[in-house]
Symmetry: D2
């Protein structure tokens, strides 16, 4: 046969597990979307129709839900580590497991004084609204020896309404863009950062605190950078993370330039003094780059989008 089976993986994708933890009348939510991908000694499954080495995707799904009970969900990263370790260590044909998780954040619904007197003060400790801002993501990969943990976020839309310029660029025969000395800079952040924790013998990062601080530094860098290009802002965002978070060695961002075009109001006898913008959908600039701690090796995949 002239064909060869190359890289392959399989598993149940998008297992939507919600875990409620009760601390007296106060409830806590973890709301995850977990995708499992296993690889290993699976040639026969593809070539001969024998499933003797195939742990069904349905079983990987059951394992996700059972582990939410057995281990709880301390963080998305910790939960993924439990799952990856289990698949690789419990089934001989499975040599590698990759767990991807999306996490949706919730906040508590506040109750006003007047009503809470009426109903009992702890009543609304079980009521939540989904925050709906960014989606937190993580990917845990385990081959039986080494860990790779890449976390991040997506769909966080941010804007600077000034302190952004763009000029001094190449002009060729197809260039019509006018130079800009005060423009809106807006983007929908998709970012990933890789931890230097790779071994069970190392001390594990505090995943929850790391996420919170990394997001904070990233946002501050976006806000505080006086920008001459989205590339420059991206670089500052990534550098700020690496400089402030010792547990992170590599950062990659994929930043669409969400164009806000100043509307020409002159035909109507009006002057548009950086006030009225048209927010365009497509086309958009797409700026992508990896930034590494000196000495680190790039591992985050280049293609975080399909465009």
């Amino acid at each position: 046969m002239p064909t060869i089976l190359g890289q392959n993986q399989y598993g149940k994708a998008e297992n939507r597990v919600v875990k409620i933890t009760r601390d007296g009348g106060t409830h806590h939510i973890k709301d995850l979307n977990v995708s499992v991908a296993l690889s290993g000694d699976l040639d026969d499954v593809h070539l001969t129709g024998s499933n003797a080495h195939c742990l069904p995707t349905d079983t990987t799904k059951n394992t996700v839900f059972a582990f939410a009970k057995e281990y709880g969900i301390e963080s998305a990263e910790q939960f993924g580590i439990h799952l990856a370790r289990h698949f690789v260590s419990s089934q001989e044909p499975i040599k590698k497991a990759r767990i991807r998780i999306e996490e949706y954040a919730w906040e508590r619904i506040a109750s006003s004084d007047a009503n809470s007197k009426f109903i009992g003060a702890d009543e609304v400790n079980h009521s939540f609204a989904r925050k709906g801002q960014e989606t937190r993501v993580t990917q845990i990969t385990y081959d039986g020896e080494k860990w790779e943990v890449i976390s991040g976020l997506k769909d966080l839309v941010v804007m600077n309404s000034t302190n952004s310029e763009f000029w001094g660029y190449i002009k060729d025969k197809y260039t019509t863009l006018q130079e800009a000395y005060d423009r809106i800079l807006a983007t929908q952040v998709s970012g990933r950062w890789r931890f230097n924790w790779t071994d069970d013998d190392q001390r594990m990062p505090n995943w929850e605190r790391s996420y919170e601080q990394t997001k904070k530094h990233m946002l501050e860098a976006f806000a505080e950078t006086y920008s001459y290009s989205l590339q420059q802002t991206l670089y500052q965002m990534a550098t700020r993370i690496i400089n402030n978070r010792a547990e992170i060695d590599e950062v990659r961002f994929s930043l669409p330039n969400k164009h806000h075009f100043l509307v020409d109001l002159e035909p109507f006898g009006l002057k548009n003094d950086n006030e009225v913008y048209y927010a365009a959908d497509r086309m958009y600039g797409l700026i992508e780059a990896t930034v590494l701690r000196d000495g680190a090796t790039a591992q985050i995949p280049v293609d975080m989008t399909n465009l």
Copy 2:
């Protein structure tokens, strides 16, 4: 000709206007998606190919952007009122205007002390992150005499992790559902409320404060209701609004029951004590109802979704 032209309307939809207002170094954003629909004496446009009575949709778009400069955007409602009045009063063939607006909320990005010393304290007063929670909506309709304002929100996901039961229902030959005495109640709120402001002579509501308070009362009612059905919770949410907001006479909700099914962990020797749930996408219960102040007449359309 055996056919008759019935109700018709036209205009530019989804005009994405962003307005930046500068108060010294502190900037403010209004981020709207404005859709215009005009109707009137437009038979010839459909029947003869004459466009003599047709104000182009492109012109309605230009008007949206020009008005953002001329009037500013105090609130989505006020902005829609300016637009609707303009179209009806400035063009003789246009007898009625309906303006629909979606509004996206933004919050300021905080800067830490250490950095703000470095860059100047007001630096980040122009930096924002999109909140991404609910989308605020409004619809203004004007026929040259009377106003109808229907505001609301959509895509606000909320959950009570307890205090919800469902039992005592009809059982027929197709019923297999088990009664529930402690279940998760979750929904993605789509709500609309109609104001009793209809006339330029009446005092106009404070649209921004009304929205904020209406949302607050709605969320509190969701959180505080001990529920025997999503219908009952819906009714409480609507009633709470009408009882607390004198400017509102009618409320309608469309509430999908976002099912969270308790996962059966017994095959794995585990007891699921209301801890681990599977969040399902489809199918879902869909609960819809209008609630009116006594004496009011229903005007909000019944079909807020296409399902």
Copy 3:
């Protein structure tokens, strides 16, 4: 209590039922998305927490799947009629049922001669690809006496690359649009048509043939109309249906004007002779109208979209 319960309805939405019918080795697919909405004597469900009149949405879901077996799915319309009649006639509190259905079309995958000899000629009579063009829709409403059937389609994208003009329109102070004498006319058709079958004593239309012929007439009218506005094209599409299909009394279209803007290539020394266009997403004109057979009364809701 100062609030009144108005119109309300409930049921299971988006039941994804797929029915395979075997005719020897040849299989047939019906692939539907069925949404049930029931109304009636349901005040107590909202007001008191009693569910004694509530047929659970879970039961309405079970009924959809059971009826696919009991009655088969001859057409979406016929299937909806079975369901609506059942809910109204079998449960005393249910006074009205509305069934909405989306249908997804499939086509057979062809097998080449060489391979079919190898595997047996009837082998691929069970292999299908989803067509993916328009989504067919229907809505059946029954109150125990009268039927209302509104069918249609959505998401059918069509284009005329010439034979479209737009000029002679109103110019006001906000008008900048240039008149067009040869433009692209493209739209994403959302159409609904109401049948004059309302009574069990009338002869029922052939729903499958009616859909096929109505779509054909609609497309021919779109293609053959020399257009001076999208309004005029819409009117011709609707009129063509009413003139050719005696079973239909009312048609409504919601047609976004999918703008294709001629790109200005002059800065690059090129002449764009109606060759290169930019397909815009937003903003878009939105043209909506009802056309009626003379003497008929409008029943199709005005708002088929939320914009």
Copy 4:
């Protein structure tokens, strides 16, 4: 500085170019979504705020539209080759260009005889409906010396309503799945295939015919394979392509298992003899693999989805 800039790329994404070619009264459409990504000597853009090496994304957009006029669009692949060569050869700092293109297919709207007599027989040679089935994709990468062309498709939904089994798999403590001896096998095909054309001196494939034939072989293999797992079907689809298309050396598929669950109708006294299925959205098995011509090296990225 402790941080290093790694892989980076930028360009305008999602340029929606539509090209109309007129052959007398008969028009032809090419409808593309073109994304440009350039890389090279761009460190300063990120590090110093100098844009001296930056060709603006706006210029890359202009180039796409200008090239549609200058070169026409013979095929998506040929168009991408023109663009990639231009960027690398015309700007010294640009060392590598990657062009990604989505193509949307259109079909002609037929006109019936009666009407075409009325309007002239060639009238509808300019009228089209979007097919809406799969989206064709291609990616062209050029570094000034070698070409890499990876084409494919996505969103093609296919189903076999029989000839699929799944049994003999691993059972562990989390396994509850029942073995299946006659099940529906359905998937939404995302496939990519890499051409062995890499050099301007080689004879270029006929891109249009290659696509048509590759899709045909892939669909036939899907239809004709008696399947013991989706992995096995995937392998047959890929192998069939490599065996039949000499211009292709590598194929990768990402195939979600679109589960169709047999509905349990026994509670209603009905027997479900493989007739009534529930089409589930999530969770789904996700099966991914590369298949190579013997001796070829894998180049198609492993991650074609983000799940």
